[in-house]
C-alpha cells in the first residue's frame, strides 16, 4: 500500500515566523531552501509523520489576497489554482486583528484549514490571553497555539492538520455585517429562483451560490468572466448594481474593495473581542525604545555605517586567524602528498593543480562565514527594514526605491538570491534598475580576491578598512550607475513606498546557525566540485601542450650551467616560458593586448576570464598560475606574497576595480536573465558592466600610477 500523501500550503503575513515554524517542524534535518530574507519563491519541505508523507509549501508572505507585488501574486495564484489538501495559516498572536484579516480572506477559499497561533509565548508575556477553543468554534476551523521558538504546540498542530484531512470538508462559517449578508441573500435567492446551474459554467463548477454571490459583490474577475456570457447575466447585472449601490451608501465609500476591507476588519475585530483578553497595555515596547536610537534622525545612519564597518573589520581580523592555518595546512599537505607520488605529471596535477586551486578557495571559508553571519543577523532581527526606511530618501535621489536596499544588501552575500529578491519591487522599471546594479554590491565569492589583495599590499591593521572601502566604493558606484540608468534608460515615475517595520526579535540561534552552516557547506561543496574541476582544467591548460624542443633546449643548458645560481635562474626562465607557451598562456597572451592599457599581465587576464565561470575561480587560477612559474625555492610562501612580488600597485588597483564591476558569475547571469525576463537584458548587462569596469579600471590604473610610479 502506498503511503498517504498530504500537501499543505503554508500561508501567512510577512514576519509572522513561517520560516522558523517550518524549521521547528522539520527539525532542520531536511533539505530546506535558502531561508534568510524574503521568501520570494515558494519552497517545499517534505517529511514523514507517522507513516504519512507530508509536503509543506512555504508561500511568500502576503498581507492580503491581492495582486500587489510579484511575490504576492505567486501566493495568490497558488492558493486559487493549484491542488493542495490543506491551508496552514500562520498568524502572529501578538497582532491578531491584522493577521485575522487575511484569515477571513483565506476562509472564503473554502478549503480545509488549520490556524497556527504562532508566537503564543510572546503573546503570553505581553499579557494577551487567547481562548483558542472559542476561536475554533466561532470560525469553524481548528486554531492551535504554537511557538516556533519553543516548539510548543508544533506536534499538536501537525496532528490536527493530519486529522483535518481525514474528514469531509465542512463549509466554514463567516458572517459579514447585516447589510452585506442581506445583499448576498438577495443574489442567492435570485439564483435559486432561476434554478441556476453553476455546475455547467466553466470555473464556477465547485462553488456554492453564496460563494458566487460574494465574488460578484466583491468584484472578483473570475465570476464576472464566467457569467457575463450567460443568459442570466442581464438581470443579474442589474441586481448586482443595486446591491452595490446599497453597500456604497452604507459604507460611505464608492470603493468596493475598501468596503470589504472594512468588513473583514470588523470581523477580525469582533473575533478578537470575543476570544482574547489583554490585561495590560504596554505604553512603550522594547521595539519603541530600540527604534528611538537605531532610526534616530541623525545618529541612525552613522550607527548603520558603524555596524557595516565592524562587520568588515571582523571579517578580516577574525577570519585571518584560521585563514593562516588553513593556508599553511594546504602547503604542508601538498608537500607531504607530493613526496609520495612518483609520477611527475600526477604530482604536479595534484599538488600544483588541485591542492593549490582548491586550497586557495577553502582558505576563505572563515571570512565567508562571518560575512553571511552578519547578513543573517541583519535580516532576522528586523533591522534591515529600518535601514531601508532610513536610506529611502537618500536612495530616492538616485532613482532607487527604499526597498531596493533589501536585494542590494543580499547581493553582498550572493547575487543569485539578490536577483530573486528584487521581486519585492512592484514596478517593472524599479526592478530592472535594481537588477542592473546588484552586481555592484560585491558578492561573497569576490571577498577572497579582495582579502588576498588587501593582505598582499596593506598592513594587517589596515586590511579591514581596505575591505570596507572596497565595498563602499562598489555601493557608491552602484548608486551613481543607478542615477545614470534612471536618467537615460529607466525613466519614469516612482513606485509608492509603504513598508512594514517588524518588531525587533532576538534571532533564533538555530536558524542563524542553519543559514550560516548551509552557506558554508554550499561553499565547500562548490570548492570540492566546481572549483576542483576548474582547477584541474586550469592546471591542464597551463601545462600543455608539452613543448619537447623547449624542454630539451633548457635541460641541456641547465646541465651545462657552471654555477648552481645560474642553473636555478635558467630553470625559472624555463618554467616561465613553458607557461607562456601553454594553452592558458596562449589565451592569455592573445587577449592580453585588450587589457594592457589597464595594466594587466596575461596571468591577470586569464584569472579575470576564468572568473566569468565563478568568482572563486579567480583566486584558484591565481593560485595555480603563481605556484607554477615562480621561484621554486620560495614555493612555500603564501599566495599573498607571490601577488605582492609579481603585481604592481596600479595594476592591482585596476584589477580590483575591474573585479568589482564586471559581469557576475555564470549562475548569477542565468538567474539575472530569468528575473529580467529577456535575454537581451543580459546583453545590455554585459555591455554596461564591461564598459564601466574598463573605463574605471583605466582611471584607477592611471591615477594610482601617479602616486606609485612603476
Amino acid at each position: 500500500m502506498s503511503k498517504q500523501y498530504i500537501k499543505i500550503a503554508l500561508v501567512g503575513q510577512p514576519n509572522v515566523g513561517k520560516s522558523m515554524l517550518i524549521n521547528a517542524i522539520s527539525n532542520a534535518k531536511l533539505k530546506v531552501g535558502n531561508f534568510t530574507g524574503v521568501t520570494v519563491e515558494k519552497k517545499s519541505v517534505r517529511f514523514d509523520y507517522k507513516d504519512i508523507d507530508i509536503e509543506i509549501i512555504d508561500l511568500p508572505g502576503l498581507y492580503s489576497l491581492s495582486d500587489f507585488g510579484e511575490d504576492e501574486k505567486v501566493a495568490k495564484e497558488f492558493l486559487e489554482n493549484e491542488q493542495y489538501d490543506l491551508i496552514l495559516n500562520v498568524v502572529d498572536s501578538t497582532n491578531l486583528e491584522r493577521n485575522l484579516k487575511l484569515t477571513t480572506q483565506l476562509l472564503e477559499l473554502q478549503k480545509r484549514m488549520v490556524i497556527a497561533l504562532n508566537m503564543s509565548d510572546e503573546a503570553r508575556n505581553e499579557g494577551i490571553d487567547i481562548d483558542e477553543k472559542q476561536m475554533s468554534a466561532v470560525i469553524g476551523t481548528p486554531c492551535i497555539k504554537v511557538s516556533a521558538l519553543t516548539k510548543e504546540g508544533v506536534d499538536k498542530m501537525i496532528a490536527r492538520a493530519v486529522d483535518t484531512c481525514k474528514f469531509v470538508f465542512e463549509e466554514n462559517k463567516m458572517v459579514f455585517s447585516e447589510e452585506v449578508e442581506e445583499e448576498i441573500d438577495n443574489i442567492v435567492t435570485f439564483f435559486a429562483a432561476r434554478n441556476f446551474k453553476q455546475m455547467h459554467v466553466k470555473s464556477l463548477e465547485d462553488l456554492t451560490y453564496r460563494q458566487i454571490a460574494l465574488e460578484l459583490l466583491e468584484g472578483k474577475k473570475r465570476s464576472f468572466h464566467a457569467l457575463h456570457e450567460e443568459p442570466i447575466w442581464l438581470e443579474l447585472h442589474e441586481l448586482i448594481m443595486d446591491s452595490r449601490k446599497h453597500l456604497y451608501l452604507h459604507g460611505d465609500s464608492e470603493d468596493i474593495e475598501e468596503i470589504f476591507a472594512h468588513e473583514r476588519l470588523a470581523i477580525a475585530k469582533g473575533l478578537v473581542a470575543e476570544t482574547t483578553k489583554s490585561d495590560k497595555k504596554q505604553a512603550h515596547t522594547l521595539t519603541d525604545k530600540i527604534d528611538r536610537f537605531l532610526i534616530h534622525k541623525y545618529v541612525g545612519i552613522p550607527i548603520f555605517l558603524f555596524f557595516m564597518w565592524s562587520l568588515f573589520q571582523l571579517t578580516f581580523e577574525i577570519g585571518s586567524i584560521p585563514m593562516e592555518w588553513i593556508d599553511m595546512g594546504f602547503v604542508a599537505l601538498g608537500e607531504a602528498i607530493g613526496e609520495h607520488i612518483p609520477s611527475e605529471w600526477l604530482r604536479s596535477l595534484i599538488v600544483d593543480g588541485i591542492i593549490a586551486g582548491v586550497g586557495a578557495v577553502i582558505m576563505f571559508l572563515p571570512n565567508i562565514m562571518i560575512l553571511f553571519l552578519g547578513i543573517a543577523l541583519l535580516e532576522t532581527t528586523g533591522y534591515m527594514s529600518r535601514v531601508a526606511f532610513m536610506l529611502d530618501g537618500f536612495f530616492h535621489h538616485f532613482g532607487l526605491h527604499g526597498k531596493s536596499f533589501i536585494p542590494l544588501v543580499t547581493g553582498f552575500g550572493c547575487s543569485v538570491p539578490a536577483y530573486m529578491s528584487a521581486r519585492i519591487l512592484k514596478s517593472e522599471r524599479d526592478r530592472l534598475l535594481t537588477l542592473f546594479i546588484i552586481g555592484f554590491m560585491s558578492c561573497g565569492a569576490k571577498l577572497p580576491i579582495y582579502v588576498l589583495f588587501a593582505a598582499a599590499f596593506f598592513e594587517p591593521t589596515q586590511a579591514g578598512n581596505v575591505l570596507f572601502i572596497i565595498y563602499i566604493t562598489g555601493a557608491v558606484l552602484g548608486l551613481i550607475a543607478a542615477k545614470v540608468l534612471k536618467m537615460y534608460v529607466f525613466k519614469g515615475g516612482d513606485e509608492p513606498f509603504v513598508m512594514e517595520m517588524p518588531k525587533y526579535r532576538f534571532p533564533s540561534l538555530k536558524l542563524i546557525w542553519h543559514t550560516v552552516s548551509t552557506k558554508a557547506w554550499m561553499y565547500l561543496r562548490k570548492a570540492g566540485t566546481y572549483i576542483l574541476a576548474a582547477s584541474m582544467i586550469v592546471w591542464f591548460a597551463s601545462n600543455y601542450p608539452k613543448n619537447e624542443i623547449l624542454q630539451n633546449h633548457y635541460e641541456r643548458d641547465i646541465a651545462q650551467a657552471t654555477t648552481p645560481e645560474l642553473a636555478k635562474a635558467l630553470e625559472n626562465r624555463f618554467l616561465e616560458e613553458k607557461l607562456e607557451n601553454s594553452y592558458l598562456g596562449m589565451v592569455g597572451k592573445f587577449t592580453e593586448p585588450l587589457f594592457t592599457p589597464i595594466g594587466f599581465d596575461w596571468k591577470m587576464t586569464v584569472a579575470l576570464e576564468t572568473g566569468l565561470a565563478a568568482k572563486e575561480v579567480v583566486v584558484a587560477t591565481l593560485g595555480v598560475l603563481y605556484s607554477l612559474g615562480e621561484d621554486v625555492a620560495e614555493d612555500s610562501d603564501g599566495l599573498a606574497e607571490q601577488i605582492r612580488n609579481n603585481i604592481s600597485i596600479p595594476s592591482a588597483a585596476a584589477f580590483i576595480i575591474f573585479i568589482l564591476i564586471y559581469l557576475p558569475c555564470l549562475a548569477a547571469s542565468a538567474v539575472f536573465t530569468k528575473e529580467a525576463g529577456h535575454i537581451k537584458y543580459l546583453g545590455w548587462l554585459l555591455l554596461f558592466t564591461t564598459t564601466v569596469a574598463y573605463v574605471l579600471a583605466y582611471l584607477a590604473y592611471k591615477i594610482t600610477g601617479l602616486f606609485f610610479p612603476l
Partner: protein
C-alpha cells in the same frame, strides 16, 4: 484638508479618508490604514522624505508623497 503629511513628530490623529487609488490604496488598506484607525508619527528621516508611523499596533514606513493621500480628522 489635513493629511498625515501635516502631522509633526509624536503627533497622533485619526484617519478620515484615503484619497489614494488603485494599487496604493489596496496596499494601504491591507496594511491597516483604515478609516477610523489611529496613526502616530514616530520618526522622520533627515531629508524629511520618509516617515515611520504606527497604525493599528504596526510600525510602517511611508513616503511623504503617500502621506499626502491620507486625510485625517483635524
Amino acid at each position: 484638508m489635513k493629511t498625515v503629511f501635516d502631522l509633526t513628530k509624536a503627533e497622533a490623529a485619526t484617519i478620515k479618508k484615503l484619497h489614494a487609488t488603485g494599487d496604493l490604496k489596496s496596499r494601504l488598506l491591507s496594511l491597516g490604514f483604515h478609516k477610523g484607525a489611529e496613526i502616530v508619527i514616530n520618526e522622520c528621516t533627515p531629508t524629511k522624505q520618509t516617515i515611520q508611523v504606527t497604525v493599528e499596533k504596526m510600525k510602517l514606513a511611508i513616503r511623504m508623497n503617500e502621506a499626502k493621500e491620507i486625510e485625517v480628522y483635524e
